[in-house]
Symmetry: D2
Subunit: 360 residues, 4 copies
């Protein structure tokens, strides 16, 4: 279980890291939309390993194949199946890991849950699975942009201790992609790159924070009680591998403010209801208020490091582990399109949900 | 939409703050379990307003009525309907708010979504709705304790700038309930109380952080990809009114650590797989590893303050708002049982999901 | 499980026959609709026992109580909880049945499934549960009529061997209710009544067929593959207690026709696509085509008879059973509003589903 | 929507008839089961066109490709993606149908719903889609057989007016496959074949009834109220293209019996609860009682005939239609494995559901 997501815009992903393919079926996509296949491919390339010296050298072409749901460039309203073959998988490094539980990986928990696991490249727990989400998310983005003009932009806010300053109202993807580290604050980006390069040499790894904004979401999306927009965004973003924390609007910092300071006063601007501040992060009572939706996601340092580690094997024997293979020292630059995809999926689903109940 | 939650342990809540009743239907509850009605009632009393000088004086008896699903004290396996009548609702203070959008409340977003709203006490957006979750969560806790020995404890970790130190391995509910502020660090608790009392006098409000632990969860609960245990916990906890952030294990702090430091080394202890540290927060690859599950939730300062505020009415006219009525200056002490309930619901659902797929 | 139904128009029912109450929560109902409470009550009265000499004498007032989701007569878009207290339950007749498995009842299967059961009045398996569906269905009907002008009418087509002739294009509820047996063919109705009266005297019971039509459903409702409109209608109608068969359009009779005879030729009428015959029953490829939707449901003879029966108890001992209590000799007249409710729920759900995906 | 099915054993299908591929993702499959790929392939071959002179000559190799979820022949517990490329699609015959609505096909309803359709081979509405279900159903069957010894057998009970006599307690697949018409009553089979051959020559088509039995289902599967086992079976079987009716146990015939005749008396046999008759069809109160589960499905005559037909095009103009292409004169022999697959999916899902709630 766990590989199906959504109420109306429903996504089913499949695939192990070193199996035949990863893929996704998008169900419930509205009919008649002209699909920009190159746009999907572009987001896949932004997620792909081997983009720069900062990332893993696995070189997947990630050539998307659309198996169904699109006819003469337009969506049919039927399920859209997208498949990416696994071409560049190198399972040799994993042979010796067949019986070892790597620390802070999913080896032990999968074994405990299923009694069987595919040890090659992390199997289903591999971040390769996120390629499928990125493909589905890119479809969702095209729908959101086409129908509502919604724009989603994510960027690296911090790597380790290196923070940055970014203006969420105006940041765009070209600014984000100006550096391989995907931080639009260029000075901070340089520091982050230096930090990553250094830590890679030390055979260690780093974490960081990805921030994101969705601009143009109309008021009224999201549902009360359990399916608040921030709860569904949190769910989607916390399901990205290595995510350990989530904030909307003021987040944890907001807990140290007074109500008089934190409340966002309403006012009218060109006939539209606006708020003077946006500590709410664009969501009130679980429903969008028309302001930009602001979120942040914490990613832990990559678990795959090249330093010796103490661990156990599947018989409980203590072993020393020295990893080989291809791993990013810091995952956050490649997490940027994954965060965008997750937001797009949540917003597309809530767009349909809203119109189902309130649009007629 | 949004009022149904869960895959197998399914919860449907209903009710407006000043309507006839709030309630919940729990579907999928295993048969044959002896229900401790007093235990449910106790959690409701911990959530109830009017417990101390720190909380709102609305005095709901919150007398639980079980309408179905229990026969001679045991569950039948059929839906369990729990109802709480609204007895002490005082709608008079809301008459003047019928057309005003209170800042950082859900008045505007509900109006934008539905075109109609119940202005009395926040209607469906009221925190009174959480009473239904607490009742359902208390049922879930009884199931988890009876079958698995799982224990869930939440506490107030910080109020405004006042933090605390609590040992998550051993903290229990009596320790939490020693002070009305529900912080088991007694020194910190005194500071928090003083802070709340002071801010109440200033007609302002405070936020804070609630931490929680689930001990005794066996390895193997949780699902890969979209329904990772931390994602579902994040979803449930972020759906609590006023929640703005969520962390599991190392959270945002973990982003500033190196992999060599953050990885949790495995070792064997009394024939059981354990980790020496628990930065993972008891979850790896979305699946429990047998260690305590550790989470934190950020709550913003209460939006209802008694200072004058600038806002607009539903015709877009600027108005000055001066709230009357009954409101907590700080919601976190009463959020403690709500956090426990949300965790219990997620864990009970994943317990059933795990046994459905892997238990046979 | 099994007590929640629907994708967008979601219904959760609860309640045992002799418990405190039966009820239903309707989630996803569109906001702003003026609710006709008397209309719901009327359908409940049509389902109620004790209406005539043909039905069981249990005299439930079935006074509906709306606990939430309606404010000043209009729906809020939040869950609508409807409750019917059980007032006239007489459990005395069931004391001796605590350990006996009544033939063709659910006593044994509930015991086998749950290991526990409420023996009073059939517990959750009682047809009293359908009162909740009728209430929810009446709400759905009001939505369908208000927004789309959809009209649903069911009637008794046969009782035992007595058939009837009814014109589905024009039949209405007043015509159906002209006789207590709810067959609008008055001659057939008289025969049916005589048959029922005779069989009741023989302490035996009868089955029959209920037919139904939905007129005014626009083209386009229903979904391909698994959620075809006829599949969802079949699901809803076959979930009514005692249902053993379902037909749409030509049904089993159609299997004996040739394609050239069965195909419904298209033609235009006043700018609208129509078919000259309607063997399809208003559905093609799982999607409504604008013609009347025609279904039939087979109900087995009532399992509760007053003749001695051989059976076993819960220890496997053979016993002779002689039922007492209050039971209808033929359930079909009271099944009429239940069939209407089930159709209304399916159509309302598919209306919302259609507009979610294709309406924007 | 409509292409995802199931609560725990969840199936997502995709693919248009003349698109790149059809396929299915099976989610929730238990881990550790040894998969018999040849067994899946065999059911696909039984469904495949071009098997005999009775069926359409489209010659798809239907070579199954497993993209995920299986490692070294065993299931991983992760999604199993199965893909069948479309190799032998011949779209030429459909060019002239781009704007015509074929009678009793889904052309008009798809156009009405989606505003766009793939006219080649019926697109998503093609029976080719059922290949995906058969693949998923074959997996479900292997699970049911391996864990519970459940056996499912379907056969052709009637074609047009030609009926048959078959003993459901003992019929097996070799007996069914003895004739191309898949009726195990050999005399009836001969008549059916003669009828089909004759009607093919007349360029017309036939319908028929498929009957099926599931033997070895333990007592306790199925859920009360909405998800009764017969309701879910009805749903699955009525979602097969061309299905117009469904019966469980006594079906419509049962409506003409008395209760005293229809009730199935309980007795003990070798320590097991049994019933002397099985008019219930193995299900009581929506839950299996351990007796064979008996169902029947009505299939209308094939809509594609080679006689001239009056219809309209998508501008409402009347046209005469003369179909070309490859079509079966009678679909029921090829429907046999589809019916088996649908039953297997429902039973596998309910097996998991039962153990989730009641098995622990």
């Amino acid at each position: 279980m766990g590989s199906i997501w959504g109420t109306l815009f429903r996504v089913t992903t499949f695939g192990e890291s070193h199996g035949a393919a990863v893929g996704v079926v998008v169900e419930g996509f509205p009919p008649g939309l002209r699909i920009n296949e190159a746009g999907i491919q572009e987001q896949l390339l932004r997620r792909r390993p081997g983009q720069s010296s900062l990332t893993s050298p696995r070189r997947e072409p990630d050539r998307l194949r659309i198996l169904s749901g699109v006819y003469r460039g337009r969506t049919l309203g039927t399920p859209i199946a997208l498949v990416l073959e696994n071409k560049n998988a190198d399972s040799s490094a994993y042979r010796e890991l067949t019986h070892v539980y790597r620390p802070s990986h999913a080896d032990y928990t999968y074994a405990a849950k299923y009694g069987i696991r595919d040890p090659r490249g992390g199997g289903r727990a591999s971040a390769r699975e996120t390629a499928a989400r990125v493909a589905a998310g890119a479809l969702a983005e095209q729908f959101l942009l086409d129908r509502w003009g919604v724009e989603i932009v994510a960027w690296v806010e911090s790597v380790g201790n290196v923070g940055s300053r970014v203006v969420s109202q105006s940041v765009d993807r070209p600014a984000v992609d100006r550096t391989p580290v995907r931080c639009p604050d260029l000075e901070a980006a340089r520091e982050m790159e230096a930090l990553i390069t250094g830590v890679r040499k030390e055979k260690d790894s780093l974490g960081g924070v990805v921030a994101a904004v969705a601009r143009g979401v109309p008021p009224g999306w999201g549902d009360p009680v359990f399916d608040k927009l921030e709860a569904d965004l949190g769910h989607a973003l916390l399901s990205i591998p290595a995510a350990k924390g989530f904030e909307v609007g003021s987040g944890f910092r907001g807990t140290r403010m007074r109500g008089s300071e934190h409340n966002d006063p309403f006012f009218m601007k060109q006939g539209r209801v606006c708020t003077r501040t946006n500590y709410s992060g664009g969501i009130q009572g679980g429903i969008s208020n028309g302001e930009p939706i602001l979120v942040r996601v914490a990613f832990k340092p990559v678990a795959s490091i090249f330093l010796p580690q103490q661990t156990i094997d599947d018989e409980g024997k203590e072993v020393e582990l020295l990893l080989r293979g291809r791993h990013d020292p810091c995952v956050v630059p490649r997490a940027v399109p994954v965060v965008e995809a997750a937001m797009a999926l949540v917003l597309a689903d809530h767009a349909l949900r809203h119109f189902a109940q309130c649009g007629i």
